[in-house]
């Protein structure tokens, strides 16, 4: 188990390092000179050269990469070109905001998705199943901003029930924050309900058809007991893995949802950084997202191994 864990961790670190190299060198393709971008088109060339030297962007790429990555490992992510302040405090507060949105979304998505999938499996092939499967598939493929606009038009503009922006301003109470987050959460729930329901459905159908489920039924156990004690325990295993891997996609959805609902999270932070060519902010944001995705996948793997002892001894890559 310990060896397996170390192996997984080692692979994750290598992947993360590769990602940092890709981001850093891809970022170098961004056109424009950082000094020029900060000072504007009318600044003197000598001032631009001076600022470039101060920022360290006139050094060889390898040196720049080394400074950046060794700083990042020690928690120093550099200075934002756009705001001229250290990156971490902004990144941390944006991450906290995104986490609120994501956690709220997951609290709704997981039970709804599992419930939908199990229901679809129990009524496999019948109308309930068709409706759940097809609506899940359709909702998952509609871009977040499309469903976001539909809910804004209906609930914020039409019925005037909820605010169309997600951010109540600093210092709002928990209840107010929650109320502002209801509409932004809807597109995220739509996006992921289908995936999770699909996995839960497949797992449940497989478990229902298994020999142990048939034995349980044949020895006269009531159907609820068969379902809750024998089927669900086994069927939800793959679902857990899917939920954790979807965390990465959830972050992709946040870019759109945070832009649409004007919410100061990490998605909008990256978007703004890309638009204003704020390179340190951009690198830090993308690397953080990559790291979160890696950790989520790792946790998924560990949960899966922990819950399914057969995998522990298998060849795991």
């Amino acid at each position: 188990m310990a060896i397996y864990l170390l192996r997984r961790l080692g692979l994750a670190v290598i992947t993360l390092w590769l990602l940092s190299v890709i981001i850093f060198f891809a970022g170098q393709v961004l056109p424009g000179d950082p000094g020029r971008a900060i000072l504007g088109p009318f600044a003197a060339q000598s001032a631009v050269i001076n600022l470039d030297r101060q920022l360290g962007v006139d050094r060889p790429l390898i040196t720049q990469y080394w400074t950046w990555i060794s700083g990042a490992v020690h928690g120093d992510l550099g200075i934002s070109y756009q705001y001229r302040t250290p990156v971490e405090p902004m990144l941390v507060s944006a991450l906290a905001n995104s986490a609120k949105l994501a956690v709220f979304a997951l609290i709704l998505i997981i039970p709804l998705g599992i419930l939908g999938g199990v229901l679809a499996a129990l009524y496999a092939g019948r109308a309930v199943d068709r409706i759940i499967s097809l609506s899940g598939l359709s909702l998952a493929t509609v871009p977040e901003f499309v469903s976001g606009i539909v809910v804004i038009v209906i609930f914020a503009d039409g019925l005037k029930l909820l605010p169309a922006s997600a951010y109540p301003g600093p210092g709002a109470s928990f209840g107010t924050q929650l109320r502002y987050l209801i509409l932004p959460v809807v597109p995220l729930v739509f996006e992921f309900f289908g995936y999770i329901a699909r996995m839960a459905r497949a797992g449940t159908i497989e478990a229902l058809e298994s020999d142990y489920a048939r034995t349980a039924t044949l020895k006269g156990l009531p159907r609820p007991v068969v379902i809750f004690r024998h089927v669900l325990r086994n069927s939800l295993l793959p679902t857990i893995t899917v939920i954790a891997t979807q965390v990465g996609y959830l972050i992709g959805g946040l870019v759109v949802v945070e832009t649409l609902f004007n919410y100061p999270g990490v998605g909008r932070l990256i978007y703004n950084a890309a638009m204003s060519k704020d390179f340190p902010m951009l690198e830090a944001g993308v690397l953080t997202i990559g790291a979160i995705y890696m950790v989520a996948t790792l946790i998924a793997d560990l949960l899966n191994t922990g819950l399914n002892p057969r995998l522990r001894t298998g060849v795991a890559t």
Partner: protein, 288 residues
């Protein structure tokens, strides 16, 4: 000798004929294909049957609600929203299928190589793929578009390249299943070249997988193109495009002008749902 070697290939080809008839019989496929056909007709000939010009601004009739003259109302520049929705099908239906095609061709070639040759190449490329997949596709796409500049070609290339590793991964596992089969051992024994084995022997047998992957990815390509346009990475602001029109007008929903964003949004929804109905039907029939 050649007869025996080609037998599996022709068998699969024959087996696919009735399955196409099965696909056509599914109601989901018919509904999806009809909606898709409607948007393709709009993309090709939309400007010739749209009631108004998609470009003409009427600055005295801006933000008009839906009426008999303007079914979907007019936007902030007084342009007819209905006509813009019809003509707007073109940009997305040009970029998304070409990007998907590029990704499918490259991904299939890479998947064949990874699955059949394997070894160190497989391990190294596998790590790179993992690294790229750790960042959401939309973020990767807009980073490159910011770097290179927005154009239809950039969008096709970027989305095609993002899809390549994803499709390669699926094709790779299909190839690994095929590699265990006897006909490949036979092909290797008679000394066929690697390239011939990959493209003439394995490729025809993984085509169903490639086809399903293409239709599924097409849905994602539409999703990505629309999302990029919504985020403001559209090609040209005056060209009618659903995502860009939503980006330009969602700020005035609060003022009550909902029709300027709702109708393009519904158009996107109908297109992706149609493609997924088609993809789902093909997938189910091929899966048996």
């Amino acid at each position: 000798m050649t007869d025996i070697l080609e037998a599996p290939v022709t068998d699969v080809a024959r087996a696919e004929l009735p399955s196409w008839r099965l696909v056509m019989r599914r109601p989901g496929f018919i509904v999806g294909a009809l909606i898709l056909l409607f948007w393709i007709v709009c993309a090709l000939f939309g400007s010739s049957f749209a009631p108004h010009s998609a470009y003409a601004q009427q600055l005295l009739a801006t933000n008009q609600p839906p009426s008999a003259a303007h079914w979907f109302g007019t936007d902030q520049l007084g342009r007819d929203v209905f006509s813009r929705v019809l003509v707007g099908a073109r940009s997305i239906l040009l970029v998304a299928p070409l990007a998907t095609l590029l990704g499918t061709v490259l991904g299939t070639a890479l998947g064949l190589a990874l699955g059949y040759i394997g070894g160190a190449l497989d391990a190294i490329v596998g790590r790179l793929v993992e690294a790229v997949l750790a960042v959401p596709a939309v973020i990767v796409a807009f980073l490159f578009i910011v770097a290179v500049g927005a154009s239809a070609t950039t969008e096709i290339l970027v989305i095609g390249f993002i899809f390549t590793p994803i499709i390669a991964r699926t094709v790779r596992s299909a190839v690994q299943v095929e590699s265990q089969l006897d006909y490949l051992a036979a092909a290797r024994l008679i000394g066929e070249s690697r390239r011939h084995v990959m493209f003439a022997e394995i490729l025809p047998n993984v085509m169903p997988t490639v086809l399903v992957e293409f239709t599924v990815r097409l849905g994602y390509a539409i999703f990505t193109v629309a999302t990029l346009a919504f985020l403001g990475f559209g090609v040209n602001p005056s060209t009618p495009s659903w995502g860009s029109d939503i980006n330009a007008n969602y700020g005035v929903i609060a003022a009550g002008y909902w029709w300027e964003t709702l109708f393009p949004a519904l158009a996107i929804a109908s297109l992706v749902i149609a493609i997924n109905l088609v993809a789902d039907s093909i997938d189910r029939v091929l899966a048996g």
